[in-house]
Amino acid sequence: MKNLLSIDDLTKAEAIEILDTAVTLSNLSETGVKKFPTLRGRTVVNLFFEDSTRTRISFEAAAKRLSADVINFSAKGSSLSKGESLKDTAMTLQAMGADAVIIRHNSSGAAHRLASQKWIDGAVINAGDGTREHPTQALLDAFTIRRNLKNDQGDLKGLKVGIVGDILHSRVARSNVLLLSKLGAEVVLIAPPTLLPVGVDSWGTSVSYSFDEVIGDCDAVMMLRVQKERMEDLFFPTEREYSRAFGLTKDRIAMMKESAIVMHPGPMNRGLEISADSAESNKSVIVEQVANGVSVRMAVLYLLIGGATTRDLETHLGENK
C-alpha cells in the first residue's frame, strides 16, 4: 500500500488489516498509552483546500500520537485555490520532503491527480475529494460498526446498513458503499430519487424511497448531512418535507432493532436529517465515531509510512551503490 486514495485500492484483507491495527491502537490508548515514537522524523502534511476542522484535527491528532511532525497547509481562501495551484503546492511539499500528504479538496479526483502525476513521492491520503470518496471516514465507520456489532472481529457479513440522505453529493456514502460491500455487509440506500445519482443501480446496493419500510431491518443507520442549499437546486421542496420523510426522529428510533446503532459523519444539521434527541439516544454512537477516527487514521499512517516507504528503499539502494 503506497497511497490511500479510494476504498477501491484496498483488498478485503488490507481493509481488515487496517481495522485490526486500529483495534490494537485503540486498546493501547485505553491502557493509557497516548504516544508512540513510531513516526519520529516523518513529516506529515495536512493539505486542506476545503475547510474541515474536524477531519484535519483528527488526522493531526493521529499523526502527533505517532510523533510525526505535522504541517498544516490550508490553501483555502489564499490565491492558491484553482488551476495549477495543486501542482505548485505539490512541488512545494515535495521540496519539503513530505512523507505523507493528507489532502482534502473540493474537486473529485484531486487526490488521484496528486498521486498519479509524480509531482510528489510521499504517500497520498485522500481526506475527501469533491463528491467522490472519503476513505478514512468509511474505515472509521466500519470500525465503529464492527466494534459495536461484531466484537472487533473479522468482516461485516450478515449486517445490514442503511445510508440515508444526500447520496448524490456524498463522498462518505460512496466510500462506505465500497467498503461495506467489500466487508460483506448489505447496504440499502435511502433517499428521495433526486438525491440518488443516475447510475446508482450499478452500485450493487438496494435502494429504498421509504425510510419507514426499511429502518426496522437495519443493524446500523448512517445519516448523511443534508446541505440546505440543495433546496435551492430543487432537490427537495422544503426542509420540513425532507425531514418528515428522511429525517431520523424519536419515532423512527423506536422502530429500530434493539441492537441497532445510529451513526453520523458530522457535522450534523440537527432538526433536518437528525433530531437532537435521536443524536443523543442510547443507540447513537456518533461521539464514539470521532474517537475511532483517530485510531483508524493512526492505523492508516502507520501502515503507509511506519515501515519502509518507496523512498526509504530508494535511498537505501542509493547508499548501497
Partner: protein, 177 residues
Amino acid sequence: MSVVLNGAEIARALKRISHEILERNHGSSDLILLGIPTRGVAIAEQIASDISGIENSEIECGTLDITMYRDDLRLKPPRNLFPTRIPASGIDGKNVVLVDDVLYSGRTIRAALDALNEIGRPRTVQLAVLIDRGHRELPIRADYVGKNIPTSKNENVKVHISSVDGIDEVTIESDLK
C-alpha cells in the same frame, strides 16, 4: 540444522527460571510477567503456570508488543501489530519480568523498556529469556537465562513453541545463502 534443546529440556529450563524468579523476588506478590510477542508470550504463560504450581496462587501475566518502538521499522515494510495486554492492576510499583525467546542484539529489549515507560513506572524490570545467543549491541543482560548458546552471526537460532509451532524445541542452523 541441529536441535540444541528438546521439549523436555525446555520445560526443565523454564521450571528453573520460575524458581529463580521466585527466589530473587521473595515470592510472587507484586510480580507481573510480560511476554513479548509472539513466542515470548507463550513462554511467559508457561513460566506463570509453573510459578502458580509452585506457589499455589495465580500470577499476573500479560503481553507487551514492542513493534511501534522498534528502531529498525524503516528497513522493512510495515509489520503487523500484536495486542498489548497489561493486567488490570497496572505495572506501577510492581516487579515486571519481561519474557522473550532469544536475547541477541538487545534492541528488542530496549524497545520494550521504552514501551513500558509509556505504560507506567514499575519498581523493577527484570528480563527472562529462553536462549541467550550473545552478540549484544546494547548494554543489556538477562536476569534469567534458560541456556547460553554461543553462536556466530551467520547462524540462526529458532525457538519453536508448541502453541505456536506445534512442537517444543530450539534449533540452530547456518544461514548459508
